[in-house]
Amino acid sequence: MPLNRKIAYIDLTTGDIQTKPIPLEVRKKFLGGRGLDAYLLYNHTKKGCDPLGPENTLLISGGILTATCASATARTHIMAKSPLTGLLGSANMGGFFAPEMAWAGFHHLVIKGKAKNPVYIYIHNGEIEIRDARDIWGKTVPDSQWAIREDLGDQEVKSCVCGPAGENLVRFANVMTGIKNSGGRSGMGCVMGSKNLKAVATRGTMDIKIARPAEALEYNKRFIDQIVSAKVNQTQGVLGTPFIWGATNSWGGVRTRNFQYNQCEYADDIEPERIDEICEETMGPHHMTGCYGCQVHCRAQYKIPEGPYAGKYDEGPEYTSQGAFGGETDTPRALTVLVGNHLVNQFGMDNLETGSLISWAMELYELGIITSKQTDGVDLRFGNDEAVVEMIERICYRKGWLGDALADGGIPAAEKIGKNSFDYLIQVKGMSNLHSDERATPGLALNIATASRGSDHLRSRPAIDLYHLPQEVLKKIYGNPVPYDGPLSSEHTEYVGKPWQVFWHENCYMGVDCLGICKYHTTFLGATLPNFEDWSKVLYYNTGIEMTPEEIWEVARRCNMIERLFNLREGLTRDDLNKGDMLNHRYFDEPCRRGAIDVVGRKIDKEKFIKMIDELYEHKGLDEDGIPKPETLQSLSLENEPSHLL
């Protein structure tokens, strides 16, 4: 049964390991994955704990459906207090780790303390041991995984690791598995590094009994047919996420030169078709790969075609890397994007944060706020490809004054650089924004301002807002599973109805994150993809748990509220530019200079934006300061948190 997968408590200081079953009542309240992690984080950390101290708690989990007969349930979730933001740290990655951990008997790990020397945790068919990792420390992300396989003499072992960036306490280091599956954003790899935890390795051959196998199998076939018949997934299966670049850039939704422009000129060399060409030339016609059990296969494989890294194999680049090492830094060259992507994958460092901070530093350099003495001679002008590649390495190894400063994240770096550098930093809650430009899309701007882990496009983005869907379609999507009869607008430039959409997507994405399903399999980029109603069935067929779509919606709300409670406990205040639900002033002051007619000249109307936040708070059951009302907590059975059920 998926439900007999256990939770393990591992103390790296004492070496103590405890395992426990997860009670059904806890499952019904939080399901698993990110939702249950949020509950555990709130219960297992104390207010104001040092994110890099032994008292921070690192949570690694699979969803409740992980490794069941439900496709695309490959996601691993990682949570801790973030060393980048001081608030909620949370990361989610595909690959093959979480299913393997489920076959090894576990769904959730609660890791505390700090090991004396580098170690790794090995989980094998119900058993857990802590092993020496001194010989593995210092190795790159892929090499660490191969070294662990050698150490254990088993080529089937799956590991999630921190790379050199995590070891060097780069505040935005990733947890990674495979070649490029990244638990990115908010520095979960840095937390691993701070605990001297190089990796968690796992291998399992324990049965997961499916509650209703025949129905689960037939349902899964229909589910896959629905997923692969969606145009958006067919395109992803050929071009990967880079397919988004073409449309968004020509439309004017890509920030370039930090935040100076909203469209990258002369970008032919990083158009999705060009990237695809390179993949095909270096890896052959079948160069797409996928995560466990997924038929979308959105991940490209490539070899770097020329230059000092020629012949190096890697996966990607994703849309994010195109923006981070192509658009933002104004270096729209395929080679720079492919090399940049390769380096962050080797180092285990967040591509988005790295590229955004480099482009911020470039703007400061051109403005004279950063001097060439501070860059140690690196000519940090926009468009300088070598400087981008050089800075990636300097950040990972904290080389030079600026490399070291940027490795601490945007806000601490702004304090060190001083002057008015903070004004140019495009961040929310201390985490850099994606390279997308939200000035023409108030709904998307509301999403990044209010996302629980800091500026983020994967926590509540109403991406389908860009499709101008007709009213009846919007009503059908956003009127389920709970009724909504407020206004909805098909216009992406509107402010009306967007708070409800953001609220709806926040719950939808929490739903998939609890179940362990990938967001490409729900209402994220495809308007016709499955959500609450389907989850109710797939949950029943695989686990036997009977929950209505409305009940799953309630679970998602509850889990989002726990994340909010955590953030509030750690000091989130509504209008704080460092730790609040607010955007950089440039969103309100500087209009878009380029792009299509519905983009150029647009900026966010601050007054309307603040009203949207008010409305979103109301939907969520928060008061005007963003604090949950007592009746909201009561209705979500959260009035007695922390309740220490697990």
Binding site: A67, T68, C69, S71, F96, W103, P142, Q145, W146, G178, I179, T205, M206, D207, I208, K209, I210, P213, A214, A216, L217, N220, K221, I224, V228, M283, G284, P285, H286, H287, M288, T289, G290, C291, Y292, G293, C294, Q295, H297, Q301, Y313, E315
Partner: protein, 165 residues
């Protein structure tokens, strides 16, 4: 003529859905150790190869079986284990040149591909058709066509290089 499993590893994305549906359809359980098909991977090179029973004519498993529990089922085009006769000695596991005869340590039984009695679930779920189910005499012509395409492409490349000289 009976159909055969045709694996084109170049198309495989490495997702291992075949393993999942194989185990669930046979045993109602998710566990790759119960799968009759296994994707062997070299992640560092991006190479994934699904391995399954070849349903050999002169099947070593069949020949070595001391109690004659393994036989050829010509109608289905498969090598078949009769579990009423099988004593679980694992001699067949030892001799299979492909590692396609496996042993399930939970149920203490050998396991191999039975072509799902003519409707292989791995094929049904593989959207990229890395695993396909085709007429046995078609396998060869499909492979020939693929090889011919490569030869033709190589020829064109060679003549292009020659033209540059």
């Amino acid at each position: 003529m009976a159909k055969a499993l045709y694996i084109d590893y170049q198309k495989c994305t490495g997702c291992r859905l075949c393993e999942l549906v194989c185990a669930v359809s046979h045993d109602g359980i998710s566990n790759p150790a119960r799968s009759r098909i296994r994707v062997i991977k070299w992640e560092a090179e991006g190479l994934y190869i699904p391995m399954s029973c070849q349903q050999c004519q002169e099947a070593p498993c069949m020949n070595v079986c001391p109690v004659k529990a393994i036989s050829r089922d010509e109608e289905m085009g498969r090598v078949y284990v009769d579990y009423d006769v099988c004593i679980g000695c694992r001699a067949c596991v030892g001799v299979c040149p492909f590692g396609a005869m496996s042993f399930n340590t939970i149920d203490k039984k050998v396991l191999k591909c039975d072509l799902c009695d003519g409707d292989p679930q791995c094929v049904r779920f593989c959207e990229v058709k890395a695993v396909d189910f085709v007429e046995a005499d078609e396998v060869c012509i499909l492979k020939s066509r693929n090889a011919a395409e490569r030869v033709s492409a190589a020829g064109k490349e060679a003549s292009a290089l020659e033209a540059q000289l």
